[in-house]
C-alpha cells in the first residue's frame, strides 16, 4: 500500500514537472487484422460487452455484488483491454470495501485509457477516494489534483 502511494505520488510529481507532451497519435489503437478482438464485427461484440456491462450495473444497483462481478469478468474476458470495464471493476471493489484493490484496478484502467480524459479523471477520483478511505490523505490529495488536471 505504501509502495502504491509512493508510486502514485511520484508519478504525480513527475507529471507536474514534465513539459507538456507533443500531440501524439493514439498509441494504443489496434493495428491491422492481426489484432484479436473485435474487428469486422466491432459493433456486434461491443454490444455484447455493453449488455453485460448494463447487466452488471443493474446488479450493482440492487446490491447483488456477486452478479455484478460475474458479469464484469465475463465482459473482461471478451474485451480485456476495455478501460471502462476495468474502471467498473474498480468501482465494484469500492462497493466491496476492498480499497487497495480498487485503487490498483483504477490504475490499470488508466493504463488503457490513453486519450480518454473523462475516464482518466474518473479513475483518479476513484484512486483519491480509495486512498482517503485508507487514511492516506496526502496521497489522496495528490490523486485528487491529478483528477482535476483532466477536468480542464
Amino acid at each position: 500500500m505504501k509502495r502504491l502511494a509512493v508510486l502514485l505520488v511520484s508519478s504525480v510529481l513527475l507529471a507536474a514537472c514534465a513539459a507538456p507532451a507533443p500531440p501524439t497519435g493514439p498509441a494504443a489503437e489496434p493495428r491491422g487484422d492481426a489484432q484479436a478482438g473485435p474487428a469486422a464485427s466491432e459493433t456486434a461484440t461491443s454490444s455484447v460487452v455493453a449488455r453485460l456491462l448494463a447487466q452488471a450495473r443493474q446488479a450493482e444497483r440492487v446490491g447483488d455484488l456477486s452478479a455484478t462481478e460475474a458479469n464484469l469478468e465475463r465482459a473482461l474476458r471478451i474485451e480485456p483491454r476495455n478501460a471502462r470495464l476495468w474502471h467498473y471493476m474498480a468501482r465494484l471493489r469500492m462497493a466491496q470495501k476492498a480499497y487497495p484493490e480498487a485503487a490498483s484496478l483504477a490504475a490499470k484502467a488508466n493504463s488503457l485509457a490513453q486519450g480518454n480524459r473523462t475516464l482518466q479523471h474518473d479513475n483518479w477520483r476513484l484512486i483519491s477516494q480509495a486512498l482517503t478511505l485508507q487514511g492516506d490523505s496526502e496521497a489522496a490529495a495528490a490523486a485528487a489534483a491529478r483528477a482535476a488536471a483532466f477536468k480542464e
Partner: protein
C-alpha cells in the same frame, strides 16, 4: 486337629455344581463378548454405509466456451470443442448434445447448464462463420439473433477422497428397472425376500461347486457383496465370511431393500482405469459406453452385470470372448426370469460388446493442470472437504490452448531428439500458458507425455533460469530514467568479480567475444553476459533482486552476483508469474487456475477474484517491453519469425544455462503468455540454447492458436519511436536498419539520422505503421 476331608461323594456332588457354574459363567461371558462384538460390527458397518453414501468427490470443469458474434472461431475449432464435450454429429439436431453441418455453418443443439450467475438454457443455435470469426448467431427456435451463449464446461476430472475412488452417483429410481432386474436375476434372485443371507443360495452354490469340482457359483447375496466391497479384503477365511454374514444381517436390519440396492449400485466394483478404480453403474456406463446409465441398451446392461463377477477376469479389451459369453449367460438368466422374452435375448446375444476403445474424459486428461488446481484449493480447503462434499470447481483451463501447448512440446521434443532403440530420448520439457491481462492459467504441460500423471515439471522442476533473469536487471536500470534509457552506453567488456571464498568470477559471452561499448538495448536484445553483469553490479544485486520480488518472485534467493546471470533455480510456473507482470504493463496479477467453487447444490462457496496490484512503474515496463519486442524482431528470439505471421508482434526472452543444460523461452503476444523449458531430468547437457530449443516449442504452440498482436500500452509521456542502429538517431522507413524502442519524455534521441527524410519534430508512432 486335622480337618475332616470331604468324602469322595461330597466332592463328586460339589464338582458338577462348580462345573455347571463355570460352564454357565463361560457361556455368559461368551454371550457378553458376542454381543459386544456384534455391537462393534454393527457400528462398523453402519459407519461404512452412511459414510460411503455421501462420499462424493469434487468435480472440476474447464472454462466454458463463450460464443458471440465477432469471436475468432472457425467451424473446425468449434467442432473440436464439441468433440471433447461428446456432441454427436447428426443430420437433424433434435436432441441436446448434437449438431449438424449446414453448408459453411453449424446448427447446434446445446445442453443447458446451471452456472452460478444464471441458468444457460439448452437451445438450438444457428451459427455462421466468416473471415475466421463467428459472424452471426441465431436462436433457431425463437427465430431471433442472440449475442451471447455459453456451452457447458468440459468436465476435466475429479478430486477424490484419499483412496482415488470416483463415482457418478445414481439414485435407485434413476437406474433402469431392466438393469436392476438383470442384476437380481444373476446375482441374487431372492434379494427382495431374504434377511441379508440366503441359505438356499449358499446350499445351491455349494452343491454346484461340489459337482463341478471347483467354484462355479457364488452364494453371496447382494448385501453380502456390498459388505465385502466396503472392506476390500481379499482373504476368504471362514472368520471373514462369518463376519460379513453377521454384518449383512445387521445391515438389513437397519436399512431398507431400496437403500441397500442403491448403495450396491453405486459401490459395485466394475473395472480399473490405470490407477483409478471404477465403482458404481453410473461411472461404469460412462467409462465403458460413453453414456449415462439411463441410456444403456439391453446388451450393455447385461455386460455391466456380467462384469461384476470379475472385471479383470472379464476385461472387455483383453478377454472379449469371455465377457461376451458371460453377457449372453446373463441375458439367458433374464429370459428365464421373465424379464425379457427369448427372442429379445437371442437378438441381444448377437450384438457385439460395444465397449469404447478409449474412454472419454475420465481420471483426468489434464493431470498437470489438475495438480495446479489442487495446489490452489489446498490453500483454502482441507483435503477431506475437497473429496467428500461434491463441490463443483470451475477453472480457467482452455482445452484449445492446452492442446496447442501439448502438441508443440511433444512434437518439437521428438524432432529435436528423436532417440533410437538403444538410446531412448531423454529430453524433457514443460510449458505454462496464461492470459496477460487477467492472469488466468490456460494450459499446463508437465512433461513430454502429457497424459502421464508423473512429475509435474511445469510446477515442480526448479532449474537455473539463465538469461531469463536479464530483463530484471534492465528494468531496474530503466526505473531510473534520468540515468538510463535504452541507448545509454554500457560496457560489454571482461570483468572480474571476487567471490567470498577468494576465487574470482569472470563471466564470458556466449559467442566468446566482447563487444565493447554498446547501447543498452543491444545488450538485452543480444543477451550479452558481460554488459548485463556490469550493469547489474553498478545497480546493485540487491536492487535487481528487489525488482524480481516486485515482479512476483516469492521464493527467497540470495543476492549473489551470479544471480545476474540466472544462477537461481525456478520453475516454469514461477517464471510465468514474473513475466506476467511484464506482460500486464507492470501490474502484478496472481496467476489463477480457479474461477470459483460451488457447493454440490450450486451455491457459490468461493470466488477467486480478479485483482491486480501496481508493482512496477508502467513507464519502465513499457520501455523494457519495447526492447523485448526487439529481441524477437532482431535479437536472440528472431527464430520465431519462422512460426508467426509477419504482422503478429510478440515480445520475449531466450534463456540458456551453462553447458547448455537448460533451454528456456518466455514470451507474450497481446493475448497469450507462454513459458517453455527444455532439459533433462538428470541434468545432463541437451546441447540446445533457448533459441534452438524452447523457442521452437513456443513458436509451434502459439502458431496453432488465435493470438492477438502485442500492442504495447504506452503510458503518458512515453513514446515508441524508430531509431537508426548506426547513428542511434531518429529514423524513419527510409533508413535501412532500424529498431523500434520506447523512451520516456526528455530521454532518447532528439535529432534525425541522415537517412531519415522527415524532420525531427515528427516523433510520433505513425512511423511505425507498416514497418514490420
Amino acid at each position: 486337629m486335622a480337618r475332616r476331608r470331604p468324602t469322595k461323594r461330597a466332592r463328586a456332588r460339589r464338582a458338577p455344581n462348580r462345573g455347571r457354574r463355570l460352564l454357565v459363567g463361560a457361556l455368559l461371558a461368551l454371550f457378553g463378548l458376542s454381543v459386544a462384538y456384534g455391537l462393534y460390527l454393527d457400528f462398523d458397518i453402519r459407519a461404512q454405509f452412511d459414510g460411503k453414501r455421501w462420499a462424493v468427490p469434487a468435480r472440476v470443469y474447464a472454462r466454458p466456451l463463450e460464443l458471440y458474434p465477432g469471436l475468432q472461431l472457425s467451424p473446425g475449432e468449434l467442432l473440436a470443442e464439441l468433440g471433447l464435450l461428446g456432441y454427436r454429429q447428426v443430420s437433424d439436431p433434435g436432441q441436446p448434445g448434437s449438431y449438424a453441418r449446414q453448408g459453411g455453418g453449424v446448427l447446434l443443439h446445446t445442453r443447458g447448464f446451471e452456472f452460478s450467475d444464471g441458468a444457460e438454457p439448452g437451445r438450438v443455435l444457428e451459427l455462421q462463420f466468416a473471415g475466421g470469426r463467428l459472424s452471426a448467431m441465431r436462436d433457431a427456435q425463437a427465430h431471433r439473433p442472440i449475442d451471447l451463449a455459453r456451452l457447458e464446461p468440459l468436465y476435466i476430472g475429479g478430486i477424490y477422497p484419499g483412496h482415488k475412488e470416483d463415482r457418478i452417483l445414481v439414485r435407485v429410481d434413476q437406474v433402469p428397472p431392466m438393469l436392476v432386474g438383470a442384476l437380481l436375476a444373476t446375482e441374487d434372485r431372492e434379494f427382495m425376500n431374504h434377511y441379508g443371507v440366503d441359505f438356499r443360495a449358499i446350499a445351491r452354490a455349494g452343491l454346484a461347486n461340489l459337482r463341478a469340482g471347483r467354484t462355479v457359483q457364488g452364494g453371496s447375496t447382494i448385501t453380502q457383496q456390498l459388505v465385502k466391497n466396503y472392506f476390500l479384503s481379499n482373504d476368504r477365511t471362514l472368520w471373514r465370511k462369518a463376519n460379513e454374514a453377521v454384518m449383512s444381517l445387521l445391515l438389513e436390519w437397519h436399512y431398507g431393500k431400496e437403500e441397500i440396492l442403491e448403495a450396491y449400485l453405486n459401490e459395485v466394483y466394475l473395472g480399473q482405469d490405470g490407477g483409478r478404480a471404477i465403482h458404481g453403474v453410473g461411472l461404469a456406463s460412462q467409462f465403458y459406453f460413453g453414456r449415462s446409465v439411463k441410456q444403456l441398451s439391453l446388451p450393455q446392461m447385461a455386460t455391466l452385470v456380467a462384469l461384476i463377477r470379475g472385471p479383470s477376469y472379464y476385461d472387455p479389451h483383453r478377454q472379449p470372448q469371455r465377457l461376451l459369453a458371460r453377457r449372453n449367460h446373463v441375458l439367458q438368466m433374464m429370459a428365464s426370469e421373465g424379464l425379457i422374452d427369448e427372442v429379445e435375448a437371442v437378438s441381444a446375444s448377437r450384438s457385439g460388446l460395444g465397449v469404447q476403445r478409449r474412454p472419454s474424459s475420465g481420471m483426468s486428461r489434464y493431470p498437470a493442470f489438475m495438480d495446479l488446481v489442487r495446489d490452489q484449493l489446498r490453500r483454502d480447503y482441507r483435503d477431506e472437504d475437497l473429496g467428500s462434499d461434491g463441490l463443483r470447481i470451475f477453472t480457467t483451463l482452455d482445452p484449445a490452448a492446452q492442446q496447442a501447448a501439448e502438441q508443440g512440446l511433444s512434437e518439437q521434443i521428438r524432432r529435436l531428439q528423436p532417440g533410437t532403440a538403444d538410446e531412448p530420448a531423454r529430453l524433457q520439457g514443460a510449458m505454462v500458458m496464461t492470459r496477460p491481462d487477467t492472469g488466468e492459467v490456460l494450459a499446463v504441460v508437465g512433461g513430454r507425455d502429457p497424459r502421464f500423471p508423473g512429475f509435474n515439471r511445469a510446477l515442480n522442476a526448479q532449474r537455473p533460469v539463465g538469461s531469463l533473469i536479464k530483463p530484471a536487471i534492465f528494468l531496474t536500470a530503466l526505473s531510473d530514467p534520468a540515468r538510463y534509457d535504452l541507448l545509454t552506453a554500457i560496457e560489454d567488456t571482461p570483468l572480474q568479480i571476487p567471490n567470498t571464498d577468494g576465487s574470482v568470477w569472470s563471466p564470458g559471452n556466449y559467442d566468446g567475444t566482447s563487444h565493447g561499448s554498446v547501447p543498452m538495448y543491444q545488450a538485452l536484445v543480444h543477451s550479452y553476459n558481460q554488459a548485463s553483469v556490469r550493469l547489474g553490479m553498478d545497480l546493485g544485486v540487491e536492487r535487481v533482486r528487489d525488482t524480481l520480488v516486485s515482479l512476483g518472485l516469492e521464493r527467497s534467493v540470495p543476492a549473489y552476483p551470479s544471480l545476474l546471470l540466472g544462477a537461481v533455480a525456478l520453475s516454469p510456473y514461477e517464471i510465468a508469474q514474473i513475466y506476467q507482470t511484464l506482460a500486464n504493463g507492470g501490474f502484478r496479477t496472481p496467476l489463477r487456475a480457479i474461477r470459483e467453487v460451488l457447493t454440490a447444490e450450486g451455491e457459490p462457496l468461493q470466488r477467486y477474484s480478479l485483482n491486480v496490484s501496481q508493482a512496477v512503474d508502467p513507464a519502465a515496463v513499457a520501455i523494457l517491453n519495447s526492447a523485448l519486442q526487439e529481441v524477437v524482431r532482431s535479437g536472440t528470439g528472431r527464430g520465431l519469425r519462422a512460426w508467426l505471421a509477419p504482422e503478429l508482434h510478440v515480445a520475449g526472452k531466450t534463456g540458456t544455462t551453462d553447458d547448455l543444460r537448460d533451454s528456456w523461452f518466455a514470451g507474450f503476444s497481446g493475448t497469450h503468455l507462454g513459458v517453455v523449458w527444455l532439459g533433462r531430468d538428470d541434468n545432463a547437457s541437451i546441447n540446445l540454447t533457448g533459441s534452438s530449443g524452447a523457442l521452437r516449442v513456443w513458436g509451434q504452440a502459439v502458431s496453432q492458436l488465435r493470438t492477438g498482436s502485442l500492442v504495447l500500452a504506452m503510458p503518458d509521456k512515453v513514446e515508441h519511436v524508430l531509431v537508426d542502429t548506426h547513428s542511434l538517431l531518429l529514423a524513419d522507413r527510409a533508413c535501412p536498419e532500424v529498431v523500434a524502442l520506447a523512451f520516456a519524455a526528455d530521454t532518447g534521441p532528439r535529432e534525425a539520422a541522415s537517412c531519415a527524410q522527415r524532420g525531427p519534430a515528427a516523433r510520433t508512432v505513425d512511423w511505425l505503421r507498416g514497418l514490420f
